[in-house]
Symmetry: C2
Subunit: 175 residues, 2 copies
C-alpha cells in the first residue's frame, strides 16, 4: 500500500485480501491458485508454480518471497499486456506461438538483442519448437527483470555495467 | 563424442543412444523421461521439465537445446555429486532440506556469496520454507553455470566483470 490514496477504496483490495490471507501478502502458491481460479489463462494451460515464482521475484525487492497490494496490481497490469500480445500472435488459439513470432514479440516490446541472444532465449523457452503461454510469460518476466536490473546499474546509459560477483549472482539467481 | 577414445566402448554409450533416439542428441523431454525411468531421484519426486531444461542449458554452449554424449556423462557426474550432498543434509529422507542447511551446502561447494545473496537464493528455491530435491538441483545448476559464465569473463580474476547488455542477457536468459 502507500503513495497516498486508501487501498480500502480500491475495487481490487477485497480480492487481494482474500488471496493474501492472514499474513497480508501473496506467495507463489497463493498466486498460482488465484490466477487459476480467476481463469486468467483462459483457454491456455494454467501457470506453473515456477512461472508464479518468477512473477513474485520480479516484484519482490526485499526478498521476502511475497507480494503486497501495489505489486499485485502492477503484476496484473503487466500480465494483461503480455496476454494481449501473446493472443495477437496466437491467432488460431492453439496455445503456442512460433519461434519467429516470439522474436517479433520480444523486439516489439522494445528489447534490443542480437539474433544470437534471441535464438538462445527462444530455444530456452520452447517445447517441441513452439512457445506456450506459460513459458512466454516466464520469459517476458525474466527479460523485464534482468533488463531493469541492468539499467538501474547502467547510470550513464552506456550499455555496459561493471558487475561484482556477488551483485551479479544476486541479480540473476533470485529471478 | 571426441577427446580420443571410442564412445562405442563406453558402457554408457548404448544407454545414451537409446535415450537420444534418431537425432543422436538429448533434449529436455528425453532427459526428463530418462531420469525418471532410471529412478535417479530415488524416493524423491522426479525432476520437473523446468529443471531438465536448466540442466541442458548448463551444458549447451551452441544453443541447440540438446546434449551430446560427453555432456551427458558430465551431467551424470555433476548430478551424482549434488544428490549425495542433498542426501547428506536430508538425513531423515523427508525430501527437503532446511534453509540453514541450504546455506551450508552452497558454501561447502565453494561459492563465496554474501548472506544477503544467500538469503535471496534460498527464498527463490523454497516451497513453504523448505527446499525440495528438484529445486535444489535447479539451484545448483544455475549457480554453477552463472559462476562459470562470470569467471570465463573475469580473466584477471578481479571479481568484477564489465558486461555489455547483450552479453548479460545471453548469459542469464538462456539458463
Ligand atoms: Ca499469504
Ligand atoms: Ca498458434
Ligand atoms: Ca534426441
Amino acid at each position: 500500500p502507500g503513495y497516498g490514496g486508501f487501498p480500502e477504496n480500491d475495487p481490487m483490495w477485497g480480492y487481494f485480501r482474500a488471496v493474501a490471507g492472514q499474513d497480508g501478502e501473496i506467495d507463489a502458491e497463493e498466486l498460482q491458485r488465484c490466477l487459476t481460479q480467476c481463469g486468467f489463462s483462459g483457454s491456455y494451460a494454467p501457470f506453473s508454480l515456477e512461472t508464479c515464482r518468477v512473477m513474485i521475484a520480479m516484484l519482490d525487492r526485499d526478498f521476502t518471497g511475497k507480494m503486497g497490494f501495489s505489486e499485485f496490481k502492477d503484476l496484473f497490469t503487466a500480465l494483461n499486456g503480455w496476454k494481449q500480445n501473446f493472443m495477437m500472435f496466437d491467432q488460431d488459439r492453439s496455445g503456442t506461438v512460433e519461434p519467429h513470432e516470439m522474436a517479433q514479440a520480444i523486439t516489439s516490446m522494445g528489447y534490443r538483442v542480437s539474433p544470437q541472444a534471441l535464438n538462445g532465449i527462444i530455444k530456452r523457452y520452447s517445447k517441441g519448437g513452439r512457445i506456450f503461454f506459460d513459458d512466454y510469460v516466464a520469459c517476458c518476466v525474466k527479460l523485464r527483470t534482468l533488463t531493469d536490473n541492468f539499467r538501474r546499474r547502467d547510470v550513464m546509459q552506456q550499455g555496459t555495467v561493471n558487475f561484482q560477483y556477488d551483485d551479479f549472482i544476486q541479480c540473476t539467481m533470485t529471478i
